[in-house]
Symmetry: C2
Subunit: 376 residues, 2 copies
């Protein structure tokens, strides 16, 4: 048995109780709605986390890489949506998954890639439904709901019996400054994907999948009527960005980085720690929010937020901690060697800096080490 | 034999010829100066890179983690300086390295940690020289050259025959806006560490090690007189921040991320690629420089910079490319499936997102895959 105090710092710590509660909250949100939960495993990249959060060994999942698809399929997750635009260089791996029995779906946002993939799937004699990406927030990929290319793309797929449906992700919801703005993104996300589905149905197509998501738009949104699935990832851990958006409390954040105080700058009121950007990531997601946490909010070894301490700067293996406001920190309260836990701005980014989760359940006993997948 | 076109994207690409030239340049800079090169392997975390850049199998190295120290020692690098402030939780691993025959040195910045480590080393009957960290740029850890604690810290170490010397790192040099400012940081870094050494010598101590570094302060600095060693890391690859500081040309950057164009937003003049922050890192090091490259500068498959294209935004597995200035990009020039190479803002951060380097020598043939170490 290991305790937190025995881990080499920095190290990634996961509170199992919070993970379970966060998973239960999302399931409760969807209960009775007829909307399926398709957890986005890009956040955890962990078989154990995905199973616990979904409360089912082989629940439907969303992936951001083919490496995730292959890894999760090898562990029994056989219903996989690859939600990043496909290119020909990746066809072979998708087709191999399908041939091995994985119910994999892929994403395109135009007729050329739709035609190219349909031809490849036909040549390989496998059936892989293709979903059309819809852009509802002007921030990334996808066809606008009113795009002229939408019906043409759908026609190419439907001709071959491979039109899976429509999907959108209003990632711009993360920039919301208040609850009203977030609800507006949520409405816009749903309205856009429903409009795309409506156009396809008017053209005579069946649209089995109508998918949207992002943790904040699903948790803050009022209605999911007409939606068949949601894709959500960060809810399993939550993070400071989500707390800033008001969709969770600071106490719900299940992930933290264990760090040691390795030095002081007493005159400046700074603590130097061994959790720099290599351990925290360079993500500054709270920079645009009302409460900027720097590179992370500082807690004690039991996970309770300390005074008003934040990581205000980070180098590769050094983090600098100070009071966000108020009087200069008296560094003598945190002698060299003190253990701290830093809550992450963005759970996906911080977790990605680590090879594994060190799992605790309220106390300081590390009851498990859960590996994370990396790479593409 | 693999070619770049056969790699799964995104993937990290290393130009061996540029790495060798960058290594030769640093050795030439130091030739005849009597100053020893102690490569900082936190940049590459690769045995093969360290060997090539140093032009010696077992040259002295600097490390930022004990995992690096253990890994490089296991591969024959037996002269290792651990340049991050030590804490008691890490004593055992340092002492184990020393017992195994590694000539390891450690860093402290005050008398308490000096005394604690000296006691531990004595109890373990091993000799591990301890270096005192000097703060010459007000940005992180260390004692000011005129600090009252300097002589007390040195006395604790010298009493036990363990005073290794003094070390500084003017990381604030990275924020220089022009060559004059960079030279000023370089002078300040050297003057500060020399002053600390002088105070120790005046107190009767031998000061074997006088160490400074950072790639830009060493390459742009005028004099290294009085310095015994330099610690430099990023010179092996260089990056956009270094190019912005004027210490290298864009063509010297040895590292890039291979990416596929996976979509278009034609009206906006955007390319969507599969190299998001997971592949590029969240580092925005050129944000404060005269030329902001966003999340990276976009090149063609052979590494030549394309028009004025930069990655202006990044999500986990999506990068958005557009012209930095001038007319809107005609996306038809880069069809979906086109392969691009993205130069990194900060080589240390971008490389850390990948498990391995794919090594090319000018052409498109991948002649080797070199693993990177990760973790602590």
């Amino acid at each position: 048995v290991t305790t937190l105090a025995e881990l080499a710092t920095p190290a990634l710590v996961l509170e199992r109780g919070k993970l379970e509660a966060n998973g239960a909250r999302m399931r409760a949100r969807l209960e009775g709605s007829g909307v399926r939960l398709r957890q986005h495993v890009k956040t955890s990249k962990s078989i154990e986390v995905a199973r616990l959060a979904a409360d089912a060994a082989h629940a439907p999942i969303t992936v951001s890489t083919l490496a995730e698809a292959e890894h999760f399929f090898a562990h029994g997750f056989d219903d996989v949506l690859y939600a990043v635009g496909l290119v020909p260089g990746k066809f072979a791996r998708v087709l191999a998954l399908a041939r091995a029995g994985c119910r994999v779906q892929v994403l395109v946002d135009g007729p050329e890639m739709a035609a190219a993939f349909v031809a490849a799937a036909r040549a390989a004699s496998v059936r892989v439904p293709v979903v059309i990406e819809i852009d509802t927030d002007d921030h990334r990929a996808g066809l606008a709901p009113e795009s002229k290319l939408l019906l043409g793309t759908a026609a190419v797929l439907a001709e071959n019996g491979l039109l899976g449906g429509v999907l959108t992700h209003a990632g711009n919801s993360y920039t919301s400054r208040d609850a009203a703005e977030l609800r507006a993104w949520s409405r816009r996300e749903r309205a856009g994907v429903l409009r795309a589905a409506e156009r396809l149905r008017e053209a005579g197509h069946a649209v089995p999948l109508v998918s949207l998501g992002s943790t904040p738009t699903v948790l803050a949104g009022e209605s999911l009527a007409g939606v068949s699935e949601v894709r959500v990832g960060v809810y399993v851990f939550f993070d400071l960005v989500m707390a800033g958006l008001g969709v969770c409390a600071l106490e719900d954040v299940a992930l933290s980085v264990l760090a040691s105080v390795i030095g002081h700058q007493a005159e400046k009121g700074w603590l130097v720690t061994d959790a720099g950007w290599m351990a925290l990531s360079r993500d500054r997601g709270t920079q645009g929010q009302a409460l900027d946490h720097g590179y992370g909010r500082v807690c004690d070894l039991d996970g309770h937020a300390l005074e008003d301490l934040v990581v205000f700067d980070a180098n590769q293996e050094h983090g600098l901690v100070a009071a966000r406001s108020g009087p200069r920190l008296d560094v003598r309260r945190y002698p060299v060697g003190t253990l701290l836990r830093i809550l992450p701005n963005h759970a996906c980014a911080t977790a990605a800096q680590h090879a594994a989760y060190h799992v605790v359940r309220g106390g300081r006993t590390v009851e498990a080490r859960w590996e994370r997948l990396r790479g593409w």
